[in-house]
Assembly symmetry: C2
Homo-oligomer: 360 residues x 2
């Protein structure tokens, strides 16, 4: 089951090591180990498989990121990406119809395609704050539609769908028995709602990688209807067994400090958003729809320059962006807002200088 290159991931893998100013990372700046846990507490962990369907204490803390649902509605995975893969591989079959939004995360297009699904793409535009037109989206649901896939807040655009935006879609998914699967890895659970709380057909995934700044734990989860979780747990036996006691323990530590970790991220993002807003005012060749939530946005530019070439040329100066081309959207750079504030500021200044020197 061959898959095409995952463009954004390959770009990150290939060039991230050369970045002096990482202006594109989707994670909040990574936490060092000693800030997360007292290493002494780990000494007595027995390194067996641990609880196969995820440590119950950890799942109890995950459940508290939602307004509804029991730990029977949660299963764990090695990051949100694996959680997403488990959802799609478990529920989708050849011939199913799937609807998703672009520009978006390539996994939601190419995993369904590799299974043999018919994938309909809903295009979004900056002029509409990168939100899909919900009436159009709803009108695409038909007899064979098995799943609508969203990413909320969205990578790369930063678009946020509020409860009000989702209302009609939720009702329709419930009536028609269509899964509403939403990757909520960029969600701040203190503020934004989850489709798994709002919709009886809702399946949400999340992780500690983005808003928590703990990608190194490779810890994610799925929350959904219990019968869906039961099915996913069958596939988990073929795909991963367990998340293991080390990751379960460290995830528990992170979730016990969720308030501090999430606030740390939000403070960084708020600072960088302000920097970017001011920078855009002084750099009229650029435009951006500042995100209401999440860690990323899509920085547009009004000059003729292929985005891949632009990103490569900026890379020569150590200024690291993922080009819009990786999301099939020329004229944009994917910008991350969760990295070090000073680095972001200086990186944007270097970008100004480069533009003045090369574009005018």
């Amino acid at each position: 089951m061959r898959l095409p290159d995952f463009k954004v991931e390959q770009w990150m893998t290939q060039y991230e090591g050369q970045a002096r100013y990482n202006l594109t990372d989707t994670c909040v700046q990574a936490v060092p180990f000693h800030q997360l846990a007292d290493v002494h507490e780990m000494k007595d962990i027995v390194l067996d498989y641990g609880c196969i369907t995820g440590d119950e204490e950890t799942k109890t803390l995950i459940a508290q990121l939602y307004t509804k649902g029991s730990i029977q509605q949660i299963t764990t995975a090695h990051g949100c990406l694996e959680a997403n893969e488990l959802v799609m591989m478990t529920l989708l079959e050849k011939g199913d119809h799937v609807i998703t939004v672009v520009p978006g995360y390539q996994q939601f297009v190419d995993i369904p395609k590799s299974i043999g699904c018919d994938v309909t793409l809903v295009q979004t535009e900056e002029a509409n704050q990168w939100k899909p037109d919900m009436r159009t989206l709803c009108s695409l649901i038909r007899q064979e539609t098995k799943m609508v896939i969203l990413n909320n807040p969205c990578n790369p655009t930063g678009a946020l769908l509020e409860e009000e935006d989702l209302k009609e879609l939720i009702a329709l998914c419930e009536t028609k028995g269509v899964y509403l699967f939403c990757d909520e890895v960029y969600r701040d659970p203190r503020i934004q709602p989850s489709v798994s709380d709002l919709c009886s057909m809702g399946i949400s995934t999340g992780s500690l990688s983005k808003s928590f700044g703990l990608a190194g734990l490779r810890y994610g989860w799925v929350k959904g209807p219990e019968h869906v979780i039961d099915q996913i747990n069958i596939r988990r036996d073929y795909a991963m067994v367990s998340t293991g006691p080390v990751a379960d323990f460290l995830a528990r530590k992170a979730l016990e400090q969720k308030e501090e970790l999430l606030q740390r991220g939000q403070d960084l993002i708020a600072q960088n958003k302000k920097t970017l807003e001011q920078w855009c005012q002084n750099n009229p060749l650029f435009h951006v729809c500042l995100p209401q939530a999440g860690t990323v946005c899509f920085l547009g530019y009004d000059f003729e320059y292929p985005s891949t070439q632009l990103a490569l040329d900026l890379m020569q100066e150590g200024i690291f962006f993922v080009p819009g081309d990786c999301f099939d959207t020329p004229g944009y750079l994917r910008m991350g807002l969760g990295q070090d504030a000073q680095q972001t500021k200086v990186g944007l200044e270097r970008l100004s200088q480069w533009v003045q020197a090369h574009i005018g």
Copy 2:
């Protein structure tokens, strides 16, 4: 892409917690954390994704488990199970022909079937030391054959295929361009050869879970031809991103102590094998082909009793076995040889007592 219940894994998940005498675990007794690593060394790990295709130092140590090959021929995964899934999901397509051996590990039958492959099973028998007849196996290779899947040493039978046994198959796979994929999770790399060293079409998987007693790290790998690893790395971007810096670090620690960890396991297995051999002499209703390698064997019994019922009834006494039924092989219990020696001894004594009381 629904999968059937993974019988052995579900049995383990459901009943392992009730075991007083775990006579069936496939892992060497788990190592406690403090025996593996000095926790202080972890303090400064930055919890980002780490090296996406696996930490190079760790991969260098993995490469030393083989006689040939560079780190470009290795990629990492969360355990051998995920490594296996990556290999099959990457290389197999609907319509491909696959050959594997039973009784064996259900993943090698049902993942290919879920993709739409035509799977031919080669039956093995205790009378032939559970080894497949290699002439028969070779004769089954045809135009559409994409892959031969082995598990060496084999779970549940403990069968070991030596270099000599594999010679004809290796030559044929090379001539016909058939992948020879071998799960070597039970291999002792100090003693047994790897198909990835012996065959240009060979792909091996391994992990730290079984012989090393470190299932809790969820750390495995694939070693194969570089073009195969490159393809697997494409799928990894859709399935897991990275193993992460915590697991990479702990795996490095384990591999730095491979001699001690592997010897610890082999000593336990040798002791338990001796116990079992003596026990069988005193319990003529049972028979076993003692394994030359690996951590498991298939304990046969000569009385009428459905194996699932037998395992359930023994469970009432805290004696934990996986029934042969989980491997579609009635009349057997899957026995693990890597657990605590005293527990194994007492567990077998309890089994004798139960048999005397219930069978006579």
